[in-house]
Amino acid sequence: MSRDAKTPPAGYDVQREHMLDFKVDQQLEQVVETDAKNFILTTVDEVFNWAKLSSIWPVTFGLACCAIEMMATSATRYDIDRFGAGAFRATPRQADLMIVSGTVTGKMAQRLKLIYDQMPEPKWVIAMGSCAIGGGPYFKYGYHVVKGVDQIVPVDVYVPGCPPRPEVLIEGLMRLQDKIRGRKGRFVTPKWVTDYAKKIPYRK
């Protein structure tokens, strides 16, 4: 979207508007036409996929700094429970998702593999943070750090950051949902976003 050079009115929060602008642009790109298929006519497969993606139970598995952000994601402000992924299970037997939140060390790697093996199919892994993705700041001299958890277990979604903000983890979860769904989800722009976007005076 282009924008003319008119200066914003006095008292206008340019920064906030800019952030919103980014979000709206992103979201508008994602809007997909509502498919006309009837719910009853959708295949059983799709129903089960829907169930899988809307009820992803992560295993309580915190490793390091990112674990705190994972907790923050499940806590009040971000509340990952909104997406159905809030039921953290302490035992891997009942979990669907392992969020590898932090640095994987040599000593931990075997245990991590064990926990992954204990999880029942279907199961997914999110590598959260740069340590889990590729060793992060511990790459060069980290003699005890595994350079990427994908050398141990298969990873579905990589969430970068050190540590990633909770919003990013939620984004990662939504990308995982897309993956389970097999296509990009239908994204409905919230009404307040469109309303707000319309109110912006110097937007074309």
Binding site: V59, F61, A64, A75, R77, K107, M108, H144, P163, R165
Partner: protein
């Protein structure tokens, strides 16, 4: 270890009922366990619910920070100090830069010292909030966890506005801080947040958790660490103060400009049970939040004008040869850095004495003879962070 063995004698092979041989149950708690605050592993030997031996096994998060210190320069290593105690990263920064400054001897501006104290105390509050939260969670109370996280988010917002990061800031540099206060509004927001915390939120926590009957039953008289044991095991921070020892590096071994401020040192008084029980340690943290609020208010009220860096950011730091040990009061206790410099840009050796490492050791002694549930309370009340134990 030694204490465990003493208690074991006469148990392993004893026949409680003639003809039926009983033995101790070996239990492996962790490294993936909800109550071990990360990747701590406790090897237990239990008789039913009673623990007869507990051996902590650590190192599941050994991230080789001390080796890395010999490979990256002094300014770069601030990043790694953030990741020791990731709940109170600014306090860890503080310990490191004080050690470097001991050798470097720069003229740290007064304004930088004040900003350091403000951010470090905010960080300490955030860490203590997590400590209350996770201790509540260990006791089975979910809701305080989320309330504490709610308030912590406010602190993270404030720190994000001054330091740029949400959780790990890399805010201190040898010789000052990285950024100045963003605007006057920031100071006002900090003060209003602190007032809100002091007047409303701490009362909420006390109503919900601290003075809850069940909570007191679970924590009072449980996991008692007496003053002698705490000193012998070099426990520091809220663990030592919970045992009734009035010692705080901020007052007794002052660094930065803490000597300018007026604050009290809360100690465990055995209000609900014995001095040094889990409830005392918990309550010391609650009261320290109040004292931190006091310090922040004083530091912001007397915030001097002037520069905030003694050394330009893009200038390489070369530390004169020598060795220095410096300790500061982190949220978990006394964090010390022993830096040996050979005059170059990179430290020759950098040893970190982390408070959780020493605090956790006491579990071997105090955990014996407790119930499994009490062991969870004990470990929870020590408020360990595995990032700084394993480093």
């Amino acid at each position: 270890m030694a204490t465990g063995d003493k208690n074991l004698t006469g148990w392993a092979d004893q026949d409680h009922v003639p003809g039926i041989k009983s033995e101790l149950l070996e239990l492996n708690m962790g490294p993936q366990h909800p109550a071990t605050h990360g990747v701590l592993r406790l090897l237990l030997k239990t008789d039913g619910e009673i623990v007869y031996q507990v051996t902590p096994v650590i190192g599941y998060l050994h991230r080789c920070a001390e080796k890395i210190a010999e490979g990256v320069n002094y300014k770069q290593w601030v990043v790694y100090t953030d990741r020791f105690d990731y709940l109170a990263p600014v306090c860890c920064n503080h310990a490191y830069v004080t050690a470097v400054e001991k050798l470097l001897k720069p003229e740290v501006p007064e304004r930088a010292e004040h900003l350091r104290i403000v951010t470090a105390e905010l960080s300490r509050i955030a860490s203590h909030l997590i400590a209350l939260a996770t201790f509540g969670l260990d006791m089975g109370a979910w809701t305080p966890l989320l309330y504490c996280f709610r308030e912590r988010e406010e602190i993270l917002n404030l720190l994000e506005r001054i330091a740029g990061g949400r959780m790990l800031y890399n805010y201190f540099v040898p010789g000052g801080v990285r950024y100045d206060v963003p605007d006057e509004q920031w100071i006002k927001d900090v003060l209003s947040f602190i007032t809100m915390l002091e007047t409303k939120k701490i009362k909420d926590y006390n109503d919900l958790l601290s003075y809850n009957k069940i909570f007191i039953e679970r924590t009072a008289d449980v996991g008692v660490i007496d003053a002698e044991t705490a000193k012998a095991y070099a426990c520091t921070g809220p663990v030592l103060r919970g045992s009734g020892v009035k010692f705080d590096c901020r007052r007794d071994d002052p660094y930065s400009v803490y000597h300018k401020f007026d604050f009290e040192i809360p100690v465990g008084m055995g209000e609900m049970g014995t001095v040094g029980d889990c409830w005392d340690r918990y309550m010391v943290r609650v009261r320290e939040i109040e004292q931190s609020c006091r310090i922040i208010r004083q530091a912001l009220d007397t915030l001097p004008e002037g520069p905030y860096q003694a050394i330009p950011l893009n200038k390489m730091v070369k530390v004169p040869a020598g060795a220095a040990y410096s300790r500061t009061e982190s949220a978990k206790g006394e964090i010390g850095h022993y830096i040996i410099s050979d005059g170059g840009q990179i430290a020759f050796r950098n040893k970190v004495r982390s408070p959780s490492f020493c605090n956790l050791q006491v579990v071997e002694k105090v955990g014996v003879g407790q119930m499994v549930s009490d062991l969870v309370a004990l470990v929870g009340s020590l408020d360990i962070v595995l990032g700084e134990i394993d480093r």
